[in-house]
Symmetry: C2
Subunit: 232 residues, 2 copies
DNA sequence: GCGCTAGCGTGATGAACATCACAGACCGCG
DNA sequence: CGCGGTCTGTGATGTTCATCACGCTAGCGC
């Protein structure tokens, strides 16, 4: 079980779990049950009524997506080791609004909602931590809405790429290898335009290609594009 | 102080305050200080670093807006009596990301963050209530993002109107009387197109005009448009 | 009354982007 | 090796919407 201690050591920075006191976190994680997923396997399906658990990624990566009214797939996020997924339905016990599938072979922990709530309410520090973290999420989403409204294609794709770079990799490798269609569904634009933009950026040395894989060369450029749009 | 009891009686349904136990709520509200605002007066400014209080609307209405990277105004929400505003920065003690001004002459209560947190952490029921309410907010925002991405003008304007109708009014009056420019900033489209759409809808009997004021005649139509888009 | 301003209606133009169509390129698998 | 699938590049076309440009109206102060 030393993967568990590993996990606690490098929990993702922006996750709800970080808000819990360390001792409670450890108890919580030891109570959870482990599960392995094949690539493409679904663990949460949009529309499920019984959303009484959340999922912690141990290894691999999950894709969170939903199908829009028009029938198009929208990818909301990719989650890697140390991140918590499905906590919204767990907290408000509503139906699942998105589907979660394994992007690559993965192993996860299943956290029943009661277990999580017990840990979260155990001390005032944990309570305030969880509330703070939830508030941060709301803040983040507000920014996304604002940028979605006003940004054009390029900044949106830039934001998608920035969210996908592997922070541990020096040469700007991505954490996953999405197809251009996936990138489009993630950034909210058509597959053809992903292709056109990437070619352009490759010519300018902003991204590079190594076989299938995409490398982000000029992270700073993409970052400012993602943050301020192309009018800045 | 009977306005206070009034307020407690008809708190807005989707507000964080609802999550608190009634006795704590009353204590909390009695500790808050009251303030009156003239129309157009600003109570919270985007960029303020000391976001250590939230605001409860007693009478009137507040407009929550921000300025986008391109310099355009974006109206995020209108809040009426019984609603809580500014709770995000209060909870995560980050900077203010939006500006709050009085849309009409209003009176509000100022809730210091410490006061709110004490009430929220007082009992496990309150804690779970607040978490549930925050989670609901996140869920709501995810839906907004999804629809913003895929919806065209008409559904977006429909959603704006649905959010503005006065639930207490039988004839579909709005809670405020926004100009077409404001409606555009709220729904994310150009003023001219607001004009065109409203004319079209008026011809179809979906909305009506009484002087300046707008009346929503076919609420159900707008509702389904807002929810499923124009492909349904 | 007269001007003055904020808000409205509506056509013409253009930019941004989705969609369509098709031609390679790559890759596993028999 | 060849063959079918999925992924990719790139032009042509069309839609959707913002933008520009203007004239109109309705208050409102004087």
């Amino acid at each position: 079980m030393d993967t568990l201690d590993d996990l606690i050591g490098r929990l993702a920075p922006d996750t709800l779990l970080r808000a819990l006191a360390p001792d409670q976190l450890e108890i919580l994680l030891r109570k959870a049950t482990r599960r392995d997923l094949r690539a493409g396997e679904t663990i949460i399906a949009q529309g499920d009524e019984t959303g009484d658990f959340a999922v912690v990624v141990l290894t691999g990566g999950l894709k969170i997506s939903m199908v829009s009214a028009g029938g198009r797939e929208i990818i909301l996020n990719y989650c890697g080791p140390g991140e918590l997924v499905g906590e919204i339905a767990m907290l408000d016990s509503g139906p699942r609004t998105a589907t979660v599938t394994a992007a690559v072979p993965s192993s996860v922990l299943i956290l029943p909602s009661r277990t999580f709530l017990d840990a979260a309410t155990a001390s005032p520090a944990s309570v305030e931590g969880v509330m703070r973290e939830l508030a941060r999420r709301v803040r983040q989403l507000n920014l996304v809405i604002e940028s979605d409204r006003t940004f054009s294609m390029a900044p949106r794709l830039a934001r998608a790429l920035v969210r996908l770079v592997d922070p541990d990799s020096a040469d700007g490798r991505l954490r996953y290898h999405p197809s251009q269609s996936d990138l489009g569904a993630f950034a909210g634009l058509a597959r053809e335009n992903v292709s056109r933009l990437l070619s352009e950026w490759e010519a300018q040395g902003i991204v590079a290609r190594k076989g299938r894989a995409l490398l982000v060369r000029d992270h700073a450029y993409l970052q400012t594009l993602a943050e301020f749009g192309d009018e800045a």
